[in-house]
């Protein structure tokens, strides 16, 4: 087992990793920017090294600084948390070159999964379904019409080089395709310099459901059930839960086994998440894979009774993945992300926290690195706490979340707590009628 781990992150996830290390008897090194000198991850690590100024690009994201910190503190592994360098294959390679274990999958696997097109192709080959569509760019409108009629309307036309909604058109009938095609082509040319378009099936109200997996270095991959993450705002998840109301034990076992097999094939090790879009007929379409621990991992920990970060570290140290029994989900867990932001405008609300009181009691977990009188710097993510509840059933979990939200006191900065309180009362939420458009319709 490792003797000392450098935690290449900040905030709650850095503290989360430090907790896991302590429970494994491993010493820890925190890195911090000048803005984070008084942070709890600095306070609770055994050692701490300032790696740069406030800007992430000059500190938490700066590979030479982070590697250098690992070298001068003589650690034998680096835990990247999520975000920052967590899915940076180059960083993972440099770690290996410096004889520091990167806690995550191999650089090759990170790179494979980081290339969304390659990842999809590989997963299709391994047996997972993806949204039907054109493979690669379309040659012409005629080809588009042919592909579209093959997969059925509605379809979505997207810029191959694109993102952010530009060069993107939803098409509901063959008659609409012609004009949509030329508009999208123009937008794509103007926005990205490349007119190439591709086309795939458009899901009206998809759910975002993901599977948590863990692999050891000896070829074994196990899944820990699914998370329902459909409540998002601009692709930022707000509320996550496990299990999903539309996943029964049959689906869980079937999709879970497919995922395990596909990942075992690519030699996956460490923690990872396989994301799916799910249509109303419960078809699971592979979207992408995240090769790291996720923000929302606690909901899985609650229902599966595991410590994913400890497991992650043990896998990286080469231990075999041995579980007494196949993971069984118990009860229901929900996580609300508490962000320092205006609950109406969603604008970040950095500043000094003047009062901070977290809820406790039965079935309540809070992951946070802030405290009374601390400063929430304007430079980073606005996530200040994760409020997680666990109860025997979903309705009980919702009621528990409501009382926990009410007992969560944050003064000095605005937070998303009132937003979560409203969502907990929404009939659609209570009924489990969730899809990725929930927040658009709602807010």
């Amino acid at each position: 087992m490792f003797k000392k781990i450098l935690v290449a992150n900040r905030g709650e996830i850095a503290l989360r990793v430090i907790c896991a290390c302590r429970e494994l008897g491993i010493r820890t090194v925190a890195i911090f920017s000048e803005a984070d000198r008084d942070s709890l991850h600095v306070r609770f690590a055994d050692e701490a090294v300032c790696v740069g100024p406030a800007q992430s690009s000059e500190s938490y994201l700066k590979v030479p600084s982070v590697i250098s910190a690992a070298e001068v503190t003589d650690v034998d592994a680096v835990h990247p948390g999520y975000g920052y360098l967590a899915e940076n294959a180059y960083f993972a390679e440099v770690c290996e070159a410096c004889n520091v274990r990167f806690i995550g999958p191999s650089p090759q696997v990170i790179r494979l999964m980081g290339d969304k097109a390659r990842a999809r192709a590989r997963m299709v080959q391994a047996g997972l379904a993806v949204l039907p569509g054109s493979r690669g760019a379309l040659d012409s409108l005629d080809q588009a019409l042919e592909v579209a009629s093959g997969i059925g309307y509605p379809v979505i036309v997207k810029a191959a080089a694109g993102g952010g909604g530009r060069g993107m058109r939803i098409v509901r009938s063959p008659g609409e395709l012609s004009s949509a095609f030329s508009t999208a082509e123009n937008e794509a040319r103007l926005s990205f310099g490349v007119p190439d378009l591709y086309l795939e099936k458009y899901l009206e109200r998809p759910r975002h459901i993901e599977f948590q997996v863990m692999g050891d270095q000896h070829g074994k991959v196990v899944h820990f059930g699914e998370r329902e993450c459909s409540i998002q705002r601009r692709h930022q998840k707000l509320i996550e839960e496990s299990p999903s109301v539309i996943v029964d034990q049959d689906i869980r076992e079937r999709v879970g086994r497919q995922v395990e097999e596909a990942l075992a094939e690519v030699g996956y090790s460490g923690a990872g998440t396989v994301e799916f879009l799910v249509d109303e007929d419960r078809n699971f379409y592979f979207m992408e894979m995240n090769t790291r621990i996720q923000v929302e991992h606690p909901v899985t920990e609650m229902v599966a009774g595991v410590d994913l970060v400890k497991l992650q570290i043990r896998m990286a140290a080469g231990e075999p993945l041995e579980l007494e029994e196949p993971p069984r989900l118990r009860g229901h867990s929900i996580e609300c992300r508490i962000n320092a932001e205006d609950p109406e405008t969603f604008r970040p609300s950095p500043g000094r926290i003047t009062a901070f009181h977290v809820p406790g009691g039965t079935g309540v977990r809070v992951d946070t690195a802030v405290y009374s009188e601390c400063q929430v710097p304007p430079y980073y993510d606005s996530l200040i706490a994760k409020l997680v509840v666990h109860a025997p059933s979903r309705p009980e979990a919702v009621l528990r979340m409501e009382r926990a939200l009410e007992m969560f006191i944050v003064e000095g900065v605005r937070t998303s707590i009132p937003l979560h309180q409203r969502i907990m009362k929404e009939p659609d939420f209570l009924a489990g009628r969730l899809d990725t458009g929930f927040m658009e319709r709602y807010a």
Partner: protein
């Protein structure tokens, strides 16, 4: 002194995080205090105390009190006015180009701006750290071969000229 001036003062107090400010003028006496927040981090909270004496007409005297951060700040300076050279990166501090070579500088050496003072090694790269002032080496804060963090004080230079 009008209300706006007082408001500005309050702002200055809050921004600086100072604990107390007392200001006396013919006919006007102002005292501003701020309780030091007990951070759970209990870390060496920046409790700067500005006892801005009489300061007849300089409310800006607050600015004089520069708060000291923890860690990376220069060790308690016997000499307060030294110019401090800080490490631009995390790495290992070396006083000489090679293990058997002479140190680049010694205490009491005169140095010029641009002259190499030491090396900070990061990721096998030897980064020469130059002086950015003319003067005399008064203090060397780090021992040869020790790790340094970003912005850590390396040398104190007594400026000349």
């Amino acid at each position: 002194m009008n209300i706006d001036q007082i408001r500005e003062l309050i702002q200055a107090v809050c921004d600086s995080g100072i604990t107390e400010l007392e200001l006396e003028r013919t006919g006007v006496k102002i005292r501003i205090r701020k309780e030091a927040p007990s951070s759970p981090a209990g870390s060496p909270t920046v409790t700067v105390e500005t006892t801005g004496g009489v300061a007849p007409e300089v409310p800006g005297a607050t600015g004089a009190a520069i708060p000291e951060g923890s860690g990376a700040s220069p060790p308690a300076a016997a000499e307060p006015d030294l110019h401090v050279i800080r490490s631009p990166m995390v790495g290992t501090f070396y006083r000489a180009a090679k293990p058997d070579a002479d140190p680049f500088v010694q205490v009491a050496d005169r140095v010029r701006s641009g002259q190499t003072l030491c090396i900070v090694e990061a990721m096998k790269l030897m980064n020469e750290i130059p002086s950015d002032a003319d003067g005399e080496i008064a203090e060397i804060y780090v021992n040869n071969g020790e790790p340094v963090e970003y912005n850590q004080a390396l040398f104190g230079i007594r400026r000349t000229g």
